[in-house]
Symmetry: C2
Subunit: 374 residues, 2 copies
């Protein structure tokens, strides 16, 4: 299949540090190439890829300190990529909806003749100012929604979305299994919580669960220093509970340290207090043979196989009660479950099926159009 | 002629207070209608116009506190207007380049079949952040410049512009003469400076000139409270010189107060220290029979007829020497000069000629295209 992948131009592919969407795009592109497809990646020149790379400028926008709200250059990237798609012969164009400037996909891609699909990596609203003011542009852009087939990253994300989007399928995010070595036999006795320190990710609940279950807990992840609420939350609600004996905080971790931490951990706690559309860290933990206990919210019930790769719980009491049951979980089986359901290979195969579906939809629509004309 | 005017969506047409571009668009639309053209104005629903109004949302963006850097809704306005232009039968489409979000005109209008022209009301760079950081998007957008015919608002603006724009003509801004009553015979002895308080507009030089010539001076206009440099400049360099006898400051003025002030003034001082692309206040002063002494920079030599409607001077000494000569100027003649060269009527007639020129260019290009194909 001749595939055009148009990445958002903000973060390098693959990302150097933070960048969930860019990590997924990188995994997808590498796998599609490995599976024999002819892939062109439209991304700034600092991308590293096995695909044919087409760039309209040398550096990702955040690398050259363009602010998220400045859309002109991001629009240029999208417009030029779509001009090239129109002039060339692709079987499918795949775009990615992740930040505010990606909203231009709606008007620009709606009139494409080439079959097109976009993945909703984040969630609405996208029209918000740096100061946090939410505008009403999203609603206006829904004019073009019927002409823009969308893939959700979970059934939960699809169901939760209030915007009248034209969802055509769900494809889970996938990780590159080679980056996650098989489960170690010898492990520590500690649990892990890993993420950004915001109340809805529940680190304060993870601490309470660990204390009540009397097991050690290691916290890892970032405090968003640009978000006062995040800094205040950490200092007021988390820091006083860190005793550096039972409850430790080791700071942010890169992939190597993350693998080190999770492959030695006894289990992973995910007491989320919002409908998180996915949760890639659960997959990473399980790939390393680390069972996950998650609140049954957002996409968690689609990701954790209850009693097989961890536990889905309704509240903190149930989380505490599940902690002793972690040892019943087969760590090899846990990894295998990720490999079968959330590997980059599976993700690429599923996207290939979505592409075929969208190509068929497009063909049918063109035929109806032709019949109408003749 | 069937004319589509696409206004920027930020400021109400006509503007309630500040809004040079919107004032010119309003004057142009009213005159084109008066001259018998079939005009459709694409602008938010709060516009007041004699043309057919097509709106995609009810309120101008600044009225609903959208920040200048938030482009999604402005893009929506432009995209929808151009979709309608494509579906409809217009002889000419006229767009207006005034702020950052107007840059999308380049990619969006470049592929129009309908003849199109845009007026450069402001000047590059357009790609700048709220924090003042200048990006390099403008240069990238020049990809489409050859396909976007542009009108400059003065020969100076055209010559000064470093971007490789496809200028097709110059049309001066015009004012609605009815808003400016004929020159009064009885006038005060004071000179006027009117504008925003920034060093390049030269209020400190106007004060020095008035002091040296020993004539009273009235300063009027706005101090941009959001721009620290502007506030500091006023407080450090202007305020200490205001004695409320020879040198007065009367604050910002609306149109009514501006007319009152200038129609009674002896003359108008314009000691600009930059290449100002136009200078509508000079025209307003002269329309009210108030001769203008301006530094011979920017568009001033195209606007002031030296020795007839005022004086063009090279420096402060020459400005001081010209002040006693103001009484040699015929105030009736001064107004007549504006009426003949800078009235909305003349502007609309000139734009009609530009439209005809662009339509002819477009026709010729299409014929060449057809010849190439056949």
């Amino acid at each position: 299949m001749r595939i055009a992948q148009i990445a958002p131009p903000w973060i390098t592919i693959p990302p150097k540090n933070y960048g969930g969407t860019e990590s997924v795009i990188s995994n997808l592109v590498e796998e599609l190439v490995a599976q024999g497809h002819d892939v062109t990646l439209f991304a700034p020149g600092d991308a590293k890829t096995s695909a044919r790379l087409v760039s309209f400028f040398p550096t990702s926008l955040l690398e050259e300190k363009v602010e998220w709200s400045m859309h002109l250059k991001a629009f240029y990237h999208l417009q030029k990529a779509l001009e090239q798609v129109r002039a060339d012969q692709f079987d499918i164009v795949h775009t990615h909806l992740s930040s505010s400037a990606d909203m231009y996909i709606f008007p620009l891609a709606a009139s494409l003749c080439t079959p097109h699909v976009t993945t909703l990596h984040s969630h609405f609203p996208f029209d918000h100012s740096p100061g946090g003011r939410v505008g009403d542009s999203d609603r206006y852009y829904m004019d073009w929604a019927p002409f823009v087939p969308i893939v959700a990253i979970s059934e939960s994300a699809r169901t939760q979305e209030k915007m009248p989007l034209h969802f055509v399928d769900v494809v889970y995010n996938g990780i590159e299994m080679r980056q996650y070595p098989p489960p170690r036999k010898k492990r520590g006795d500690y649990l892990v919580w890993l993420g950004r320190f915001v109340p809805e990710k529940g680190p304060h609940l993870a601490i309470e669960a660990a204390k009540r279950a009397q097991v050690p807990l290691v916290l890892a992840g970032t405090i968003d220093r640009y978000m006062k609420a995040s800094v205040d939350y950490f200092h007021e609600q988390i820091k006083p509970l860190i005793d550096n004996e039972q409850i430790k905080y080791i700071g942010p971790v890169n992939t190597k340290r993350k693998v080190h931490l999770l492959s030695r951990a006894h289990g992973f706690l995910n007491p989320i207090e919002w409908e998180e559309p996915f949760g890639i860290v659960m997959i990473e933990a399980m790939a390393l043979g680390c069972p996950t206990i998650s609140f049954a919210r957002g996409a968690a019930p689609e990701i954790v196989a209850h009693g097989k790769t961890g536990f889905l719980v309704q509240n903190l009491d149930e989380m505490v009660q599940s902690i002793p049951k972690i040892e019943e979980i087969d760590r090899e089986e846990t990894r295998l479950y990720v490999e079968r359901n959330f590997s980059a290979q599976v993700m690429a195969e599923k996207y290939t099926k979505v592409y075929e579906k969208v190509i068929a939809m497009n063909k049918k629509a063109s035929e109806q159009q032709r019949r109408k004309i003749s």
